[in-house]
């Protein structure tokens, strides 16, 4: 009896491969409308949810079909899921890569099928993409440093600041801290601590506690992302101080929690990126590429288009 089952299984196996071979020819996408594929970094983050909403809306407005895949913060999922996307017969690929360095196989696969590749933020990994839309991380850090200098000088506090970094593998986000530290040192400040909060909110809280212990006279903190900045602001208020007037906390992203934290008077400012608009913009760029137009780059050599970053404080906070 068991042998029969094995034979059946073997037969099924052979059958499915035969079918696979036969079915291979017929399935090309022939529908009239164009399809945009978007491969997103990780939908767990508010930033990428906003970016996805912008991309989706842009695609809908232009009358495209739209397919989304999630890289779930894993580089091999990034490659396999994006290849899944390409194999579904999309006409243009938009990708916000979890690891830009692993874009190579994706861009090669897309080029092989003549699909244009629009990279949305993070980085291009030195590949042959068509265009990258990028908010200037380094410049955002510099902006934060300048604002912090204004705040600290006005309050007449000691020129000592700290810098909280993301997880070590997020090398592109790390440029925010590099920009911040370079500018603030130039302005004559001492960076008393550079510690990683692993991009996690609760780690931002812990690291800030330790920074406060080691340097009670620290007067400003820059954080690589908003969750850690909010965590740090909470640590400061648990120590009986304020992250908006005693020790100035500046974050990055303008996530909802950061805006709420600024409104609540727990935190001084955040550097805003505009993920929703970036999403819409990438669809427009994809349209131009599909229509064979040449793009107007900000930096032609690296095919970059810069998106401005803004400083959000209590004065200009959006509702």
């Amino acid at each position: 009896m068991n042998q029969k089952i094995f034979k059946l299984i073997t037969a099924l196996l052979v059958l499915s491969f035969v079918l696979a071979a036969c079915g291979s020819s017929g399935e090309e996408a022939t529908s009239e409308s164009r399809t945009i594929g978007f491969s997103v970094y990780d939908m767990q983050y508010g930033f990428f949810q906003d970016m996805e909403a912008g991309t989706r809306e842009g695609a809908k407005d232009a009358g495209y079909d739209y397919i989304l895949v999630d890289q779930k913060s894993s580089e091999s999922t990034m490659v396999s899921a994006t290849i899944d996307l390409i194999n579904q017969g999309i006409d243009a690929l938009i990708i916000s890569p979890f690891k830009p360095d692993a874009l190579g196989p994706i861009v090669d696969a897309a080029k092989e099928k003549g699909i244009p590749v629009v990279v949305n933020d993070i980085g291009g990994g030195g590949t042959d993409y068509n265009v990258i839309v990028i908010s200037n991380n380094y410049e955002g850090g510099v902006m934060a440093a300048e604002h912090m200098d204004e705040l600290i000088s006005a309050a007449g506090k000691p020129k000592k600041v700290a810098s909280i970094t993301c997880e070590a593998s997020a090398v592109y986000a790390a440029r925010r801290n590099v920009g911040f530290e370079a500018k603030i040192k130039e302005l004559g400040y001492e960076v008393v601590a550079t510690l990683s909060g692993n991009s996690q909110q609760e780690q931002g809280y812990k690291v800030m506690q330790d920074i406060l212990t080691a340097n009670p006279d620290v007067s400003g903190v820059f954080s690589c992302n908003d969750p850690m900045a909010v965590g740090a602001a909470q640590a400061i208020s648990d120590a009986g101080l304020s992250g908006a007037s005693d020790i100035f906390v500046i974050g990055f992203n303008a996530d909802e929690i950061a805006l709420e934290s600024i409104k609540a008077g727990d935190m001084a400012a955040t550097v805003q990126q505009v993920p929703f608009e970036m999403g819409k913009m990438t669809v427009e760029l994809a349209t131009q590429l599909m229509n064979g137009k040449t793009l107007a780059y900000d930096n032609a050599e690296l095919r970059e288009i810069f998106v401005p970053v803004n400083l959000i404080t209590l004065d200009n906070i959006p509702n």
């Binding site: 399935e27 999630d70 194999n87 579904q88 690891k99 360095d101 190579g104 030195g126």
Partner: protein, 349 residues
């Protein structure tokens, strides 16, 4: 006589089913999934897509072959994720500076084997349990790779001769899949055709009895961890080549995917039982599941729940079947051997 014969026959049928499920259960599930997806999931039957699925299965697969051997022996290795990152990163460093693919393969595999050797020595000579040794090693190795990289920046390299290993094909069959099958055949050969393989099974079944029977337990365990390193190194090289790059933060959680694949393939965490075929099927199932969910445009949050549920479901089939069997055959309990001995295994390494 006749009663005994009847009982023996019943018993052998039960054993047959047990083994059948263990060996071919997941393979059947994969086949059914493929057949259904072939007809009902849009774009699945696109040959590029199917080839991508089997390519994808190979990256976890090679490491899973080594892990199968470890788990059959009753140990396991939580350091394979960190080992993967460090060895892939060093391999990329070598290939990008020397441009020698052969040297990169050697470095990647040897580094991974070295970590395996250290694991094996710590477990046998110092006497720390495999779980703790490899957990501790995973922290140490991950930390080391960040320290070596001085900040986490990955290394990129995209010369054809190198990326072919992860992205190329031979007669349309993806190279990584071919290597996976070769690894699986090697694993099968080691387990079934060598004295070492017999030692692995006997240690997994009963370590004390194996020792009494003259199995060189310590040497075998050291060897097992070196073999785990070898296969992890192969995975590391393939992933590095597939991604054209590797960094110290490569693939966090890889060890859990590998262990989950092996267990899904029917290998018992308690040791003593398991098969390479099951592991191959489980790796294919994993890749297929992810692919189908993507092709059906399933929501990313729902995907997580679905993958967990499918895993649980597949793993509980055997338990449910056992319960039903026990229920319907209370009378022949005299001949029941060890169906319960495997419950509640917390991975007692």
């Amino acid at each position: 006589m006749t009663v005994a014969e009847k009982q023996i026959k019943k018993f052998s049928v039960k054993l047959g089913w047990d083994l059948l499920w263990e060996r071919y259960g997941i393979a059947t599930v994969v086949l059914i999934a493929w057949v259904i997806a072939f007809f009902f999931v849009p774009n699945f039957r696109n040959p590029d897509n199917m080839l991508n699925v089997i390519r994808q299965s190979a990256f976890v697969g090679c490491a899973a072959v080594g892990m199968t051997i470890a788990i059959i022996s009753g140990t396991f290795d939580l350091s394979v994720g960190s080992t993967l990152a460090l060895s892939a990163y060093l391999g990329l460093m070598v290939v990008s500076t020397t441009e020698s693919v052969l040297l990169a393969i050697l470095v990647t595999v040897l580094v991974a084997m070295l970590i395996g050797l250290i694991n094996g020595l710590l477990i046998t000579k110092v006497g720390i349990s495999a779980f703790i040794t490899t957990l501790g090693m995973s922290f140490i190795v991950r930390g080391l790779s960040y320290i070596i990289s001085k900040g986490g920046e990955p290394v990129r390299y995209n010369a054809k001769a190198f990326i072919w290993w992860g992205n190329g094909s031979f007669l349309r069959i993806p190279i990584p899949f071919i290597i996976f099958i070769i690894c699986a055949l090697a694993g099968w050969f080691i387990l079934k055709k060598t004295p070492f393989g017999r030692y692995v099974f006997s240690i997994g079944t009963n370590e004390k009895a194996a020792k009494v029977a003259g199995v060189p337990v310590q040497r075998t365990i050291i060897f097992i961890f070196i073999i785990v390193g070898l296969f992890t190194g192969i995975s590391a090289f393939l992933i590095g080549s597939r991604l054209y790059s590797a960094g110290p933060g490569l693939e966090p959680g890889f060890e859990l995917s590998v262990i989950a694949a092996v267990v899904l393939g029917g290998t018992r965490l308690a040791g003593g039982r398991g098969s390479i075929l099951g592991t191959i099927a489980a790796c294919l199932l994993y890749a297929t599941m992810g692919n189908i969910l993507n092709l059906l445009h399933a929501d990313a949050f729902v995907q997580r729940v679905a993958v967990g549920m499918i895993l649980l479901l597949a793993l509980s089939i055997e338990g449910i079947r056992q319960r039903i069997f026990e229920h319907s055959s209370r009378r022949i309990t005299t001949l029941e051997i060890e169906p319960n001995s495997n419950e509640y295994q917390g991975g007692q390494a």
